[in-house]
Every structure is written in structure tokens, then in C-alpha cells.
Symmetry: C3
Subunit: 380 residues, 3 copies
């Protein structure tokens, strides 16, 4: 039977994937996929990351050049590791890493053989050191011969355009922009310098600032969900706005941002949207908002700056979320949220109230059921 | 560091996007993206929309030709605006629009300088006037030379097929159909007259009526999620049905409609699905259903006509939802719903019961906590 | 008005779709879309499915060759049908099928004219008989002339690569693999034998075992959602892991699997993900896990073998789910779940507790409201 899936082989300690046996986690920065730079000395790592360098407690020479990074549990002397999450503290003591990035509070937990890179922002320091070893691949300027380019376009000669990409009339693409394969760019779209547009992305009616990133399959600027309900069915309302993605915005894979109906849909500078996120027409996100996977923001709703919307949360339309508010996972927001508030639940309520309700309900339901059970037992 | 995102610049009052400074909302119908028709006189607008025309209360000449539309807050004398949502009533008084579409109840709230277009269906009237000024772009008949067309296809000469689109063997495409770029159409698929298929859509095992719209990235007709669970793992069950999208159906960006396993998956005429919606195999939607973003309908579930499923709601398989029922946002429906019912919550319950439960729980949890706090205070 | 949707025509008993009038359910295995094999005799069907054959109770000749399959309600004498769900028992009595696959408990409910194929795993038997009549289409080896193939690739001559597919440098593709159209395969990716990659899929930084299936629009291996929060905004953390999809994994349409940041994201052998599922970076799924549509698993979370995650459930990051645990639909999992546990609700709790809470709350809220109403009435 062609569709039968025979018993899969046992998985660990190694699996056969493709043509070779791979061991998960044998290496970050697999050379098939990443280009490595280095080696680098400790001084360079400290300088690049802004961390304070403390030599190994046992006097181990720190002149060893470092060749890469690794998680605490697998790192060796030539590798740098880091601790950001207190949950992994037990791994720190046993690490074989030659150097570890840590927050000041954990500096004395690093084993004596390892150098310490102390940083008040260890995750940021980690990001910088990782980028030093594994820089993003360079953009290869040029237009793939299979791409279809419209008339009247302005494409910077330092930009790259991938195979089978379609660029509509009058499109402008800035310096160093990296457009992947199979991208569809509608007429009149503007894409600023150093944007990265992933494979299969579709853009129309959109203006992108600089350094905007779209992951594969993102849909930007299509018709919003707007129609008049009539006794005879539905009648489409023309969607006449645009999408504006300000500088540094990132949009995840297969996420969708509808263009406005009569004003613009705007994603504020620096905001990051995860995969499978939905943004309705006319929505406004402030600067540096975070919208986690599978969350949805309905039409005309406005978010202030630095708002976080956790995974699978949903916001109805026409409401306002104040700056720095945090919307919990799976939260259902049906009305305005004040600046700085933390809400969760469906309908949304303050974190404290939500967990109080949960605890109360559990306690009462248990008690009542037990009482009921006792009564029944007594009657019997 | 190449991945560093420096501090984004302040956003408003204007932002630099792409190559130029844009002001959000400076115009609906940006000429880069939309073609404008007109100007039109008031009589034409009234006739097109079916609205009743009342001249400006202060006797302002209504012979001015109108050049476009705008929101209440930014419209000027040569533009038409509208009020549909009572929430925006304060904006009506201050509007500079030369004419406003309103429901009869709000006709006397229109400022005296503006003509009034009174309609019992103002949103529909608005849709028609907006379409008059900004008609959808015309279909440009013809097959892009890069498209790959199978054998035995019947493609109407008035249809358009975009770049890099793949059309399988025996496909039929009707008059005036507009197929975008990068579309994948499997063998035997039928697409009726005046359908619009967005970029990157994939269709297989599907029959589409007339005027069906698919937004970019919609997936129609792939294998349903069907397999037998055996002690050795999972065994695929062949999915032998089709997808039928009846006349006037619209499917949002990146939504997925699986084909049936042994019968058809059917979306009834006029129904509209938003972005990121999932429809399982064998599901049946009646006529003019609405399924809002990120909602999911599991396999073999049936919806009557005019059912609304709000955002992020989920329906389990093998249940029936009666005509005109309304399923609230994030609702989890585990059993049949009667025609005309309004349900919400997870598990689903009547709206009234849901909000009664929410209010009761909040009150009781607060009271108990306060009592507990008082008791503790008294003991201390 | 071009965007007007006139009243859709009445739907049933038949609809006009595309160019012809179709009746939903007139046939599984529409010859436009499926190739049929056969006819087959009862002995062959019994052998292929492992079912025990019992001749028709009324002595009807079972030598009739069977030409296909059909649901109970529409099957005729030359067709095989099956009963798997007790819900459809009433349909069994009235079926016109010539043979029916059933579990032993229902064998005596089959009408006397029909042969009985008795199986302890009737759905699996059904899968095998359906595959016998309607085998999956054969792979047509060869690389479409429009495909763009990188340097240093190893592509098995029995593999198929569709139109407009882009294959990066150093990619390896195994025997009998079937790569659809418009697929984007990043450099270094490995795809094992007999994989099926649907149209528009995008893969990068990924190693696939054998018999892996990706449905259209799946996104595998893009950047995870990782960044450091700084006072000045967000700073990307390089994502240096891979995605490993072990043997027999299936990923649904438009689902997204991010590559790991410092270790690998791994989907265990035989696991099946439905449409629109999100898997965060570094997540680990054991063997034969099921993740239903629109569910999401956050970064670094680990699932044991045979875990089921129902539709729209969400798991936070950095937790562990024990083997054979079942996570209910729309469940919000915020902490570890023990092996074999059944949880539901948001936050997650045992099934029994969840439904006890629901019942308690309903009862109490009703009672209190009624008491309150009575008190008010008495006061009046």
C-alpha cells in the first residue's frame, strides 16, 4: 500500500535524515547552512559585546582563540556559551565552555576554568557575539534573469532580486535590499534600503521603510475583510488605503496584514510580528510592539508603543490599547486597555483577577463536589 | 553588528518609508495604487447609491463636482464622506466634507454646509459610491508568456493568467477570470467566469463557481487530515473528495480548505472567509456564511445559511450549526448549535449565560478574597 | 457596480460550478482528479485489508467485481463502504453497498444483501481498500525545464521537480522524491527518498528524512522569533540551528516550523501536523505526535512520543509534555504536563476538573441570579 507508514525507527541517539545520520544538536552553525568567521580572542568578544571580561578563576590562559558558540551543555574550551534564563543555572556549573556570558548576579557561578563575560544585558551580548561568529549571508546584488520587472521601476544596483520574482510597474527598491525568490510585488510598491523579503512573500498597496524584514509567505496589502450586509447577500466595500511598514519592522512567516479601507494600516517602527499573525484593515501599531504567533488584531484597533500581544490572543476592532500594555496568551480583548496594564483571559481582565478567579473556581468546585459526595454517602 | 536594530526614529507626524516621507492617511485612493474616475455630481452619487439627496441646509450650491471620498475628519468640500458607526458621531459635526452619507436617524446631525445622502443602508451606499470613484482595475486578457499551461485546457480568451502560473492538464477557466502570478492550478480544476485568484494561491481537486475570489496564498483542495491510528503509527486514508466553492465565495489570504475524504467540502454561495481560516475535510458551509480570521471548522461539520463564526472560534467535527446562528470570538463549539442561537465561551454557551458566569465569578472571587483578607486581619 | 455580489442562486439539489452543474457527493474519486484501479473481487479486498470475509447473509453471490468505494448512504452493489463511527449506525441498515467494512461488534447490523469485511481496525482496512482502488498518482521523474538548480546538487534521477522550483547550491534530493511547483529549497537542504513537497513550500536550514510530506505553503526553517529587548528597541539574535523532520513526518498547508536558535527544532518520526500550525524554535516533538490545525507550540518546549495537541491549543515555551499526554482543543498550557495526562482549559487542567468547574459555575451563577431575582421581587 503506497500510503502505509511503517513503524518509524527509534529516534535517539541519532536519526537518519536525508542521506546521512545526524545527531540533533551536534553543532550550532552547521557549515552547510552558515558561514563562520573567526577565530576571535576574548578581548575582541568583550569589545564587540560590551561585556566586562573576567579571566578564569583558576588562571587558565585566556589567550586561546575562540572558534564558535555552543549551548552550556555541549560547549568545549574553544567555544563561548551564555546563561540568560535562571532555569538553566544547573547547566552552568557543568559547562565545558571556555567563556560564558552571564549577568552580574551569576558571575561567581561560572566554573573556574572558564573566562567570564559579565553583562547587564547578557542576551544582547550573546546576540552580538553570535553575529560576530556567524554573520548574516551577504546580499549578492543583481536581478535574476528569470525575474519579471515592470516598467518605470527604480531598483538600486546594490539590491538583489531572486528567481521567478515579479515586480510590478513603478516599483522602487532601495540600496542593499534582498528580495527572495517567487516574490510578488504589486505596482507602485516602495521597499526601502536593506529590506529583506523572504521567498513567496506577496506585497501590494504597500510602502516599506528601511530594514523591514518579511519572512516567507507573508501577505501584505491585500483586500481587507470589508463588506456591507444586505438582504441579498454581501457587497464588497472598496479597500482604498495602504499598508505602511515603518523602519525595522519584521513580519513572520505566513502572516497577513490587510491594507486599510479608507485610511492606512500602519505597523510602527521596530515592531515585530511572529508567524501566522493577522492584522486587520486600518489597524495601527505603535513603535516596538510585539505580536506573538497566531495572535490577531481586528480592524481599526490601535496599539500604543511597546505593546506586547502574546500568542493566540485576539483583539476586537475599534479599540485602543495603551502604551506598554501586555496582552496575555489566548486573551480575548473586547474593550480598551489602559497604558501599562497586564490583562489575560477571555474576556480580558487584569492578570491578578484572572488567576484569583481560576483559584477560586477550582477551590469551590472541589469543595462542593466533595460536600455533595459526602452528603450522598451519608444518605446511603 | 549587522543584526542590530538602532533606535527607530519618532513616528508621527510623518514617517520616512521607502524613498519619501509619507503622512499616514493623507489620502485614500493613493494614485500609485488606485485609478480614480470622476468627477461626479451629487445627482449621480445619489442615483448610483440609491440614497435620497437633501441639499445643504445653508443653501450651499450642490453643483460642485465631487472628486473622491475621504474619512469624516479629513474630507474637504470636493469629497464625499459617510457615517456608519455611531461611535464616530462626534466627527460628523466637524467634518469639512461637501456631502455625507448617513442613516435617516443622523440626517439632521450633518453640518449645514454639506449635502446629505440619506440611506437606510449607508454602508452599502458608501460601497457603491466608493466603487464609482475607484473602480477595480480592469482585467487584462491574455496569458503571460512565462506561464506553463497543460494539455487539453479550455481557457476563455478574455481571461488573464499571470507570470509563473502553472495550469495543469484539462483545466477550464471562464470568461473574465483574473489569475494572478505564481498560482498553482492542479489538473482538472474548473474556475468559473469572473473569478479572481490571488498570487501564490494553490488549487487542486476543486470546482469553482463564478465570481469566486481567492486572496494571496489561499490553499484549496489539498489532502485532509485523515489517517488511521495503528499500534505502529499512522496510516494515511486517501482523500477522494473535492472542494466546491459556489458562486461569489471569497477566501482570505493564507486560508486553507481541505478537500473531502469521501464526499465534497462545500462552501456555499456568497460565503466569505477571512485570512488564516481553516476548513476541514467534508465540511459544509451554507450560503452567505461569514468566517472571521483564524477561526477553524473541523471535518464533516455543517453550517446552515447565514451563519457567522467570529475570529479565532473553533468548531469540532461532525456537528451541525443551524441557520443564522452566531458563534462568538474564541468560542469552542463541541456540540450542535440551534438555528438563530448566539453562543460564546469555551465550551460554547448562550451569550447571556456566558456573561452572567463571568460577572458571577468576578463578584464571588472578589468577595471571598476580601472576606479571607478580613479574617486574616482580624486574627492578626 | 463591479463589486456587487447579486443574490446567490439557491444551492441544492445541484449547483453550477465552473462550467457544469455538479451535484455534491455524486462520486468519490472524481475521474477528473483521481485514477481508478480495479475492478477487484471480494477475496482481493479481504486480503489487501486484512479483514475477515463473511458472505452476504441472504446468499447473494459475492463473485461480483467491485469497482469503487462510496459512503453508506449512496453506495450501490458494486461498491464497498464502511462504518467506523457509531454515530452513523442508522445509515448502515439502509445501505445499498455490496460489501461493508465494520468492527466485529457491528457485523450483524450489516443488511443481508451485503458481504461483510470484519476488521478490528476498520478505518485502517478502509484506508487500504481505498488506496487499492485509488492509488496515489505516480511520480513522473525529471526536472521541469523551468526549474532553477544550484551548483553541487545531488538529485536522484527518479525524483521529480516541478515548474518554477528553485533548488539552492549543494541540495540533495533522494529517490522517488516528488517536489511540486514553485518550491523554494535553500542551499544545503537534504530531502530523503520518497518525500512529497507541495507547491509553494519553502525550506531552508532543514534536513528531511524519508517519506516526509509537506502540503502547499508550508514554511520550514526560517528565522525563529528571537531578539533581545533593549532600551532602544529589539536586537535580533542569530538563529543558528536547523530543522530536522524525521522519517514519515507530515506538515499541513501553510504551517510554519522555525529553525532552532542554538540547537535544532526536531519533529519526531511519524508525527503529523495539520494546517496553520506553528512550531517555535528549538521545539522538540517525539515520535508519532499529532498537532491539529491552528495549534501552536512555543520555543524550546518538548513533547514526548504519541502526544496529541488538539486544534487551537497553545503551549508556552520551555515546558515538557510527557508521552501520550493529550492536550484538548483551545487549551492553554503554561506548565509541564505528565505523561498520559488529559488536560484542557486555559490555563490547562485535568479534563475532569475542567468540566466540573464549568458545571459548577453554571449551576451557581443560575442559582444566584434566580435568588437575586426572587429577593428583588420580594422587596418590590
Amino acid at each position: 500500500m503506497p500510503t502505509v507508514q511503517p513503524l518509524p525507527p527509534p529516534r535517539r541517539p541519532s536519526i537518519k535524515a536525508g542521506f546521512m545520520t545526524v545527531t540533533p544538536d551536534n553543532v550550532p552553525g552547521d557549515p552547510r547552512f552558515f558561514v563562520t568567521q573567526g577565530p576571535f580572542g576574548l578581548e575582541q568578544l568583550a569589545q564587540c559585546s560590551g561585556a566586562e571580561l573576567r579571566k578564569a578563576a583558576d588562571g587558565t590562559e585566556t589567550s586561546t582563540p575562540f572558534t564558535g558558540i555552543a549551548p552550556l551543555q555541549s560547549a568545549t574550551r574553544g567555544q563561548v556559551s551564555f546563561l540568560d534564563n535562571r532555569r538553566y543555572l544547573p547547566l552552568l556549573e557543568g559547562t565545558g565552555a571556555g567563556a560564558v556570558i552571564v549577568a552580574p548576579a551569576f558571575a561567581d557561578k561560572v566554573p573556574p576554568h572558564a573566562a567570564v563575560l559579565v553583562s547587564k544585558a547578557p542576551y544582547q551580548a550573546w546576540a552580538r557575539i553570535a553575529s560576530l561568529f556567524y554573520p548574516p549571508p551577504p546580499v549578492r546584488p543583481g536581478i535574476h534573469p528569470s525575474a519579471v520587472i515592470g516598467t518605470g521601476c527604480e531598483i538600486d544596483p546594490t539590491a538583489a532580486i531572486g528567481a521567478f520574482t515579479v515586480v510590478g510597474d513603478g516599483v522602487r527598491i532601495g540600496a542593499g535590499a534582498d528580495i527572495g525568490s517567487h516574490v510578488s510585488i504589486g505596482g507602485g510598491v516602495e521597499i526601502g534600503a536593506r529590506c529583506r523579503i523572504g521567498a513567496h512573500a506577496a506585497l501590494s498597496h504597500a510602502l516599506l521603510g528601511e530594514r523591514v524584514t518579511l519572512l516567507p509567505g507573508a501577505r501584505i496589502g491585500q483586500d481587507g475583510f470589508g463588506f456591507a450586509v444586505t438582504p441579498e447577500g454581501f457587497e464588497s466595500v472598496p479597500q482604498l488605503g495602504r499598508v505602511i511598514l515603518e523602519d525595522g519592522v519584521e513580519i513572520g512567516a505566513n502572516s497577513t496584514v490587510d491594507r486599510g479601507s479608507i485610511r492606512d494600516t500602519v505597523i510602527g517602527a521596530g515592531s515585530r510580528l511572529d508567524n501566522l499573525v493577522q492584522i486587520g484593515h486600518n489597524a495601527r501599531l505603535g513603535r516596538c510592539c510585539i505580536v506573538v504567533s497566531q495572535a490577531g488584531i481586528s480592524g481599526s484597533t490601535e496599539l500604543g508603543d511597546f505593546v506586547t500581544v502574546a500568542a493566540q490572543a485576539g483583539l476586537i476592532g475599534h479599540i485602543k490599547i495603551g502604551a506598554r500594555a501586555r496582552i496575555g496568551a489566548q486573551c480575548g480583548v473586547m474593550s480598551d486597555v489602559e497604558a501599562g496594564a497586564d490583562v489575560i483571559g477571555s474576556p480580558a481582565m487584569p492578570f491578578r483577577e484572572f488567576f484569583r478567579n481560576v483559584a477560586f473556581l477550582r477551590r469551590m468546585a472541589r469543595k462542593t463536589t466533595q460536600d455533595g459526595g459526602r452528603e450522598k454517602a451519608e444518605k446511603a
